[in-house]
């Protein structure tokens, strides 16, 4: 299998900081996640009103993807065959809890369709695909921990079998205000960082 691929760019949102290729783009330590992600959205000039109805996991994944893909200057009129392969530990648990509470609350029973639609982890992939018109292959895996080896094998397979030209992959976890993290990277045929398990782990940990 051809494994001559590169990590073209990477983005991280963690600890109230947004960074792209290890340059910090935005930081605001004083805020709760909800306020922080809203400030980051404004700061990054995202201008996508649908952002405001997304759940926390989608906001996190969407903004990280947007920061990374904006930097790629994609031509949206072209068909950009970028596959999306995400993973996390808590699935859509944060929103699951909200939906769960709304159907167990006897006094104010109201399951909201706007909440229910986000009770699946892969909805955030849909949100990114809608914005960037990505009709590409996509999957969401659930693992106990960040699994560089699986992401490496899966994206190499997609690229070497020509199912995608590039792969946006990584880890997007939201399990409560103080437990969130997005680490996304774009695997491509060009770039400077070799696409190896060790490099993925190193980037993830720095």
């Amino acid at each position: 299998m051809n494994t001559d691929f590169y990590i073209k760019s990477y983005c991280r949102i963690k600890d109230n900081t947004v960074s792209l290729n290890d340059s910090v783009l935005f930081n605001d330590a004083s805020k709760s996640f909800i306020d922080f992600i809203k400030s980051a959205y404004k700061n990054q000039n995202t201008k996508y009103p649908k952002f405001f109805k997304m759940d926390n996991l989608s906001k996190l994944a969407f903004l990280a993807a947007d920061v990374l893909l904006k930097n790629e200057n994609l031509k949206l009129e072209n068909d950009n065959n970028i596959a999306i392969v995400f993973s996390n530990r808590a699935s859509s648990l944060d929103t699951d809890r909200k939906h769960q509470e709304s159907i167990q609350n006897k006094e104010s029973y109201y399951p909201s369709p706007a909440v229910f639609v986000y009770t699946l982890p892969n909805i955030c992939i849909g949100e990114i695909s809608i914005k960037y018109k990505l009709y590409s292959e996509n999957s969401f895996f659930i693992f106990d921990n960040f699994n560089a080896s699986h992401l490496l094998t899966y994206s190499n397979s997609l690229l070497s079998s020509n199912k995608a030209h590039e792969v946006l992959c990584g880890w997007v976890e939201f399990d409560g205000e103080n437990n969130y993290e997005a680490f996304l990277y774009l695997v491509s045929k060009t770039g400077t960082i070799k696409h190896t398990e060790q490099n993925i782990i190193t980037l993830y940990n720095t």
Partner: protein, 400 residues
């Protein structure tokens, strides 16, 4: 590298039967498994119909010889039952004789127990064991334990209603790339208030029997089920002189990039998934003998899928039907349930009837197969489309 991906075993439990033989019997006799919900106390009991499995959780406990302190969700019970049947059907006695992985799909996970005990967790210690059983990966781990799969790739896919189709696809690719010799692939989802209430708010649940591809369709019936297939490499098939039930010939996945929960008007994602699967199989549309459609009987799906089928097949749409009228929509398990049905169709050379159909849709003039039809089948295409725009197609064939 293995060129072929052989299916050598199958197991299933659904509202129309507790094993492969019972499911097939119901399919060819037109027996549907849709009824009023019995095992879940819901305010909607008279507004919805479901595909529910008869066994209670304690009956499953006995069947699987589990002690009473187990923390199995119903998803896990269903998954273990179906996976065990698949292993037995494949004649596997030593699961670790070959590099064997497990890819299991679910969207509900342990939600059934969470909603039952949510408010007791703080006070009632006896219920707390179910907290660990909540997450999507738990049922997969339990299936792996029950099958004795050690130290190998065990993973869960959660991409809504295309999850199990994606499990099959990942399993096939793991075999083709030579990473594993054998992969157990499939999915399990039980009924829960979580999904009943959620789909109800989206106003896509029918208050009567679901009617796929009918002009007056009112929505879907939720169902619970699990199904697993044993995929093996050419090398294992040769070494063990295995009987091959069918092959996974093609697969494709695409995003519809349209809406979180609705399919695009022209079925862009579905169209791309079918096209990609044909390409992987090296088939033309004319090579497909039967399409087991996603056909959930929602207004949106059947129109979008129908248009996508016409875009792929043009004037020559093969026989197609949806089996959701039998089982209900079994969400993350649906792709595996319908994979088993597709293989059974190939083995027995039958096209299942699309039950409950009365009125032709006005948007196009293609009509699903309405009666059981016997004809030689070489290939079956199976569609599964999920929320988040995740669309997948798998093609099964008799010959490699």
């Amino acid at each position: 590298m293995s060129k072929g991906v052989a299916i050598t075993g199958m197991g299933i439990i659904s509202a129309i039967g507790n094993n492969v033989a019972e499911n097939y019997h119901a399919l060819i006799n037109g027996n549907k498994g849709i009824s009023r919900v019995k095992k879940i106390k819901t305010n909607h009991v008279n507004d919805i119909m479901v595909g529910e499995i008869a066994f209670t959780n304690s009956e499953f406990e006995q069947q699987l010889h589990l002690s009473s302190d187990n923390n199995y969700s119903r998803t896990a019970f269903l998954g273990v039952v179906a996976a065990k049947e698949a292993i037995k059907n494949a004649g596997i006695t030593d699961i670790n004789a070959y590099k064997t992985g497990l890819v299991s799909a679910t969207s509900v996970g342990g939600m059934d127990m969470t909603e039952r005990y949510f408010y007791d967790y703080l006070e009632n210690k006896a219920t707390q064991k179910y907290i660990e059983g909540h997450h999507a990966g738990d049922s997969t781990q339990k299936i792996a334990e029950q099958l004795g799969i050690e130290k190998s790739l065990v993973t869960t896919i959660s991409t809504a209603c295309s999850s199990a189709a994606n499990s099959i696809m990942l399993g096939a690719r793991l075999i083709k790339s030579g990473l594993l010799d054998r992969v157990i692939v499939g999915g399990a989802d039980c009924l829960s208030k979580f999904t009943i209430n959620g789909f109800k708010t989206l106003m896509i649940l029918s208050d009567t029997y679901n009617t796929p591809f009918d002009e007056n369709r009112k929505g879907l019936n939720l169902g619970e089920a699990a199904a697993f297939l044993v995929l093996e490499s050419d090398a294992v098939v040769q070494a063990e002189n295995k009987t091959v039930l069918a092959y996974v010939k093609g697969y494709g996945n695409a995003n519809d990039a349209y809406h979180q929960t609705a399919s695009s008007d022209n079925g862009d994602g579905a169209f791309l998934a079918m096209e990609k699967a044909l390409k992987v199989a090296d088939f033309t549309p004319a090579d497909i003998d039967y399409i087991n459609a996603h056909g959930t009987a929602t207004g949106n799906n059947d129109l979008s899928e129908g248009r996508a089928i016409i875009r792929v097949f043009g004037e020559h749409v093969p026989d197609f039907s949806s089996t959701k009228a039998y089982t209900g929509h079994t969400l993350a398990a649906a792709g595996a349930i319908e994979a088993v049905y597709s293989v059974l169709a190939l083995q027995n050379n039958v096209v299942y009837p699309n039950l409950n159909f009365e009125t032709q849709m006005k948007e196009f003039d293609m009509t699903p197969q309405l009666e059981l039809k016997e004809k030689p089948l070489k290939t079956v295409m199976s569609n599964s489309f999920g929320f988040g725009g995740n669309c997948s197609t798998v093609i099964f064939s008799k010959e490699q």
